[in-house]
């Protein structure tokens, strides 16, 4: 018996010291190898008197299990220590910069067009388009602006031929003509796009963007026009209340015509829309002139409705606090980065315009 105790004590003593894995394995084979201490004790079982044998064997098994557990525990301990040391060595400076990435941006005008489309989509407008190069007829004559009409002076037009029959459209209104010639009423469309005037200074660019609106049906009156624009302005500026003013104006293609102002005030050098007693002109509109309807073979006795034209760049400037129109088209990398939008910021009906 004392042999077994001695073996156990010796082992416990050995395991106390710092060992590596092969040393532990050596101890293991010293005990349990073919001629190991424990193995040889098992070989002794046959020689022990029958009365003692059972007890001896049972005690030997207990010791064996006990010793095996001790060794396994030690192995586990060493392995854990090794992993710990390895991870310790692998430690890096996690504050070093991430791998380089580049971020693209959507131009504020494109974002604004998507915002506008999203708002008008909700109230049933669909998007139409027209070419940038237009005929003199579609851009002026069909819109009740004949050759000798002084209103043409307000449009400094780029021409593409000496006869002045082809031009860069000065507004998006020719899309009204194209849409109404193509289909049958009712019409409920918006048409965003590029427009051109040979005019260039701090507040005018030779190219800018407009969105045209047209709603023609049997009973569309100026109240609908006011309601539609009121809704649009509120949604666009993401405000619950807005101060809006309709005042009489003149466009050859609408009658009656109106210009729309919104209320604003200056706070800390920034425009705040919706409050205050200053007025800012933002769009022109009116009831489509019967002459225009006749020009596109729509009966003005049966159908009537409104049209409007809004400067997109100007809306974007007001909403996002951009001061200089020319910067929109100047392509300054810093400006595009600053005022651009993440491509994932898609304005939609269900999630709204803003994050």
């Amino acid at each position: 018996m004392s042999d077994l105790k001695k073996i156990k004590n010796e082992l416990l003593f050995k395991l106390k010291s710092k060992l590596n894995l092969s040393e532990v394995n050596q101890i293991k084979s010293d005990l349990f190898g073919k001629n190991g201490l424990i193995s040889s004790q098992f070989k002794k079982i046959g020689t022990i008197a029958e009365t003692e044998r059972k007890k001896f064997a049972s005690e030997l098994n207990v010791i064996k299990d006990e010793l095996q557990d001790l060794i396994n525990l030690k192995i586990k301990e060493i392995e854990n220590e090794e992993i710990r040391e390895k991870l310790q060595k692998e430690k890096i400076d996690i504050t070093l910069p991430e791998r380089p990435f580049v971020r693209g941006k959507i131009h504020p005008v494109s974002q604004t067009i998507d915002e506008i489309s999203s708002i008008f989509s909700e109230i049933g407008f669909s998007v139409e388009e027209g070419p940038d190069v237009e005929s003199e007829y579609n851009n002026f004559t069909a819109l009740n602006t004949p050759e000798d009409h002084p209103a043409r002076d307000m449009h400094d037009t780029f021409y593409l031929d000496e006869k002045k029959e082809r031009l860069l459209r000065t507004h998006t209104s020719p899309v009204q003509i194209r849409t109404m010639l193509k289909d049958k009423p009712p019409f409920k469309i918006i048409a965003p796009g590029r427009t051109y005037r040979s005019d260039s200074d701090q507040t005018h660019a030779p190219m800018f963007h407009q969105v045209e609106g047209l709603h023609i049906d049997k009973d569309i009156n100026m109240g609908h026009l006011k309601g539609c624009l009121n809704y649009f302005i509120k949604e666009f500026f993401e405000l619950d209340k807005i101060k809006m003013r309709f005042r009489p104006s003149h466009f050859p293609f609408t009658e009656p015509s109106a210009e729309v102002d919104i209320g604003y005030e200056m706070k800390d050098g920034k425009i705040v829309i919706g409050e205050g007693d200053q007025w800012l002109e933002i769009l022109g509109c009116g009831m489509v002139h019967p002459n225009v309807l006749r020009n596109v073979k729509v009966d003005p006795i049966k159908f009537q409705g409104y049209a409007f034209g809004i400067g997109i760049d100007r809306l974007a400037m007001l909403k996002y606090g951009i001061n200089d129109l020319r910067a929109f088209f100047d392509c300054d990398y810093r400006w595009l980065n600053h005022f651009g939008f993440d491509p994932l910021d898609v304005p939609t009906n269900y999630r709204g315009l803003s994050r």
């Binding site: 580049v102 082809r166 003149h250 392509c331 300054d332």
Partner: protein, 801 residues
């Protein structure tokens, strides 16, 4: 149109204040563009006389003037004007006054060492005219009021109105007063019209020639003999200066006054300078005359001229000539009041690039029935101020004015504007605006006042009524949230998707002009036609762009100049193939410069290259929904790409036009435009060439079908001719058995040692997997052999041993 409240009060009786006026003007559609406060210290500007001038000791161009401003002591003023000479009567601005033009407040100041007390003013500095050459020269008549205020004591602000082109009647003060009165802002004063009482005939013969496109239909005139032209009386000068007009002489001032007051342009001729009589006729090509702006004009055929037997005197309704102009010594005058047709005026003025107050009014349409009123008012005033004898009025006409009648159904008002006003109210408004009406069965017959050329149909009446009743009465009808048609069509959705897809790959979206510099355009025009703009805004924007690259590269270069190196920008927009509507394409064009991972501690930096843009193009097209297995790429690209490092992509080998180009920009272009960058690559995707799928997303998802049997990956290295495309090799492998062979990857391309010259080795990894069973060694061996054989047959490539 510039007005003052004071002048308006000549025609309008009202107790309301200027603040209400400004609001009401805007409410009736006469937009207030600005209000200039002229009165605040206007009285400070004094009539003064230069007594003595001496040269400035420290500046050659300056003078030191001693000026009499009606005080005991003379004021010392430093002045730079060449016409500041001794004896000149001019206008003096004291320290403390604010110069209207510059809005600067004067102070006593040292100018080059000499103290100057105030300044002497030019007309432009006082906003009287654009004349900035020298200080104001006043006539000797002002001697009497030296030291008195140059301006009258009017407290009325200058109100600048933007009159829309349909309202010529509001280019006169009376017209504006009429609109205001109709809207309830006071009462229009009814004048007893004074008429010329004369028994003398107008003896100068006037004839309107009956010709095709005669621009004049009525010519009214009277002679005033034995006048003494003089300076205008103070009240008249004040009237004109109050709206920023410069007084000239009584006769000219009176015609101008009547024009601004009644919107009735007049012209005064020196009758003695008219040879025999007046002939109103079409000009002949080559005729010349000197106009009152001191410029010579050469006329074309068919312009409406007022002439005598010697030649052209002036352009009717636009500008008079110097030959028959009135001067201070003019004795006899012929006063003209005519009707010129808007179209004729407009055409002539445009051809000659002339703009005058008269032209501005005639081209919008003058009241044809105001001819006699204008002559009466002006002639009587001239007689009052200049004396003389007035003849009877002579009127020549070749057309008679037809009164316009418009049928009006009162129900139309509510139908168009959505609210109701009483019939009584309707007629009150129309009556105040000058309409006359007769009741018929279901409608009214309205007689349109002769001063309203803009009113021709029923809806014009609706506008008058709603304008005067107030746009604030229009109800707000909330829109219904209902959509019957989809907002975007397929190609608009594609545009939208591509726009955001490219941005998501690190490109900044730019918007540049649709036109460009022809020099740059030529680099990227390839075989396309140049489309010139007839009237470009500058020579740098003289053509429509044939490609977006021209603008992108200009702006890319500007950004490189700003010190940025690694830039990716793109634009989605039109390029043009011709000058007809519709001859345009929508293109997404991107440009990338410099390096990837510049100065990174972790990534190896490298130049951007053609495979970067190829990735952007291919990935984008896959994201849109096209199958990359079907893409076909070759190397035929426009001449602005590097011929060896660019490609064009088709959605399918057999079908359709190219959908994209990508590659390095041609090194010659980079050199020519002097661009400093390590590398420049770009791409173009053509939206119109992309076939739009009719399928919804739901239809696009086919049945989910995958194999769970063991798959094997086998590597092959083929030796091919150097100019064999990898694409052909891959297609050959894929053609072996679509059911078994998938996912071919090129993992190495090698030329050099152990490879014969003019050949290269392409190493690929092929995934082989069956949908039916786990393939055993012999199955795989068969497929291997088949791949090797097929590739050999199709491309001539040999397996590398």
């Amino acid at each position: 149109m510039k007005i003052t409240f004071d002048w308006l009060k000549d025609h309008l009786k009202t107790n309301l204040k200027e603040k209400n006026l400004l609001e009401q003007l805007t409410n009736v559609g006469l937009e207030v563009e600005g209000v200039q406060n002229l009165s605040s210290d206007k009285e400070l500007f004094k009539v003064a006389k230069i007594i003595k001038t001496t040269g400035h000791p420290n500046a050659d161009r300056l003078k030191v003037c001693e000026v009499n401003i009606g005080e005991k002591e003379l004021k010392k003023v430093v002045c730079g004007a060449a016409n500041a000479v001794e004896g000149l009567i001019t206008v003096y601005a004291p320290p403390g006054s604010t110069i209207p033009k510059t809005k600067t407040k004067l102070a006593v100041a040292k100018i080059r060492g000499i103290t100057s007390y105030g300044m002497l003013c030019s007309e432009s500095e006082l906003n009287l005219s654009d004349e900035s050459d020298g200080i104001i020269e006043l006539s000797s008549g002002y001697k009497k009021i030296i030291g008195k205020s140059y301006f009258s004591k009017s407290k009325s602000n200058l109100i600048d109105l933007s009159i829309t082109p349909n309202r010529p009647d509001c280019l006169g003060i009376r017209g504006i007063a009429r609109d205001l009165a109709a809207s309830g802002f006071g009462k229009l004063i009814d004048f007893k019209k004074k008429k010329i009482k004369s028994n003398v005939r107008q003896t100068l013969n006037v004839k309107i020639k009956k010709e095709k496109n005669q621009g004049c239909s009525i010519f009214g005139s009277c002679l005033i003999t034995d006048v003494k032209n003089t300076e205008s009386p103070q009240w008249l000068k004040d009237k004109l200066t109050s709206i920023g007009q410069k007084p000239i002489s009584a006769i000219v001032d009176i015609t101008n006054y009547v024009m601004f007051d009644l919107n009735r342009p007049l012209h005064a001729y020196d009758a003695d300078k008219i040879e025999k009589g007046i002939i109103v006729r079409n000009s002949k090509s080559g005729e010349k005359f000197t106009a009152l702006d001191n410029k010579d004009y050469k006329l074309e055929d068919g312009m409406c001229v007022i002439s005598d037997h010697k030649g052209v005197l002036g352009l009717g309704g636009i500008i008079g000539g110097t030959r028959s102009g009135t001067e201070l010594d003019t004795k006899n005058i012929l006063l003209e009041s005519a009707y010129f047709k808007p179209g004729s005026i407009r055409t002539t003025a445009k051809k000659l690039n002339l703009d005058t107050d008269a032209k501005f009014r005639f081209e919008r349409g003058i009241d044809p029935l105001s001819i006699e009123d204008g002559l009466n008012k002006a002639a009587i005033l001239i007689k009052e101020i200049c004396g003389g004898k007035i003849s009877k009025i002579d009127i020549q006409k070749i057309e008679t004015h037809k009164t316009k009648i418009v049928k009006f159904d009162v129900n139309l008002f509510e139908k168009i504007v959505g609210f109701k006003i009483s019939t009584k109210e309707i007629f009150k408004i129309l009556e105040n605006l000058g309409f006359k009406f007769k009741k018929k069965k279901n409608f009214f017959e309205l007689t349109v006042p002769s001063w309203r050329p803009d009113i021709t149909q029923e809806v014009d009446i609706v506008e008058e009524l709603v304008r005067i009743s107030g746009y604030d009465k229009i109800r707000t009808i909330d829109p219904i949230k209902e959509r019957k048609k989809s907002t975007l069509n397929k190609s608009q959705k594609l545009f939208h998707f591509l726009q955001r897809s490219i941005a998501s790959k690190g490109y900044l979206e730019a918007i540049t002009w649709s036109f460009t510099d022809s020099n740059y355009n030529n680099y990227f025009r390839d075989t396309k036609r140049e489309i010139k703009i007839v009237n470009p805004i500058s020579t740098e924007l003289d053509v429509l762009r044939n490609s977006i690259f021209s603008n992108l590269i200009i702006y890319m270069n500007k950004n490189l100049d700003r010190g940025f190196k690694d830039l990716s920008i793109y634009e989605i927009g039109p390029t043009f193939t011709g000058s007809k509507p519709g001859e345009q394409n929508t293109v997404v064009c991107g440009l990338s410069s410099g390096k990837k991972s510049r100065l990174s501690w972790i990534e190896k930096e490298r130049n951007v290259d053609v495979f970067d843009v190829k990735k952007d193009v291919v990935q984008t097209l896959i994201e849109v929904g096209y199958k990359s297995e079907e893409f076909f790429i070759d190397d035929k690209t426009p001449n602005y790409y590097h011929p060896g490092k660019s490609g064009r992509l088709f959605l399918k080998k057999e079908a359709g036009s190219e959908v994209a180009y990508f590659g390095e920009i041609h090194p010659n272009i980079i050199k020519n435009i002097d661009m400093k960058t390590e590398s420049l690559v770009g791409f173009e995707i053509f939206l119109e060439n992309l076939k739009l799928t009719k399928k919804t997303l739901n239809d696009q998802k086919t049945k989910f079908y995958v194999s769970d049997f063991q798959k094997s990956e086998r590597d092959f290295a083929f030796v091919v001719d150097k100019n064999t495309n990898a694409q052909d090799l891959i297609n050959a492998v894929l053609s072996v058995n679509q059911g078994l062979v998938s996912n071919v990857k090129v993992f190495d391309v090698y030329e050099g040692d152990n490879i014969p010259e003019n050949q290269k080795s392409i190493a690929i990894s092929v995934t082989i997997q069956s949908f039916e069973k786990t393939l055993n060694d012999s199955d795989l061996e068969k497929i291997n052999n088949l791949i090797i054989k097929t590739v050999l047959n199709k491309t001539g490539a040999k397996i590398r041993s």
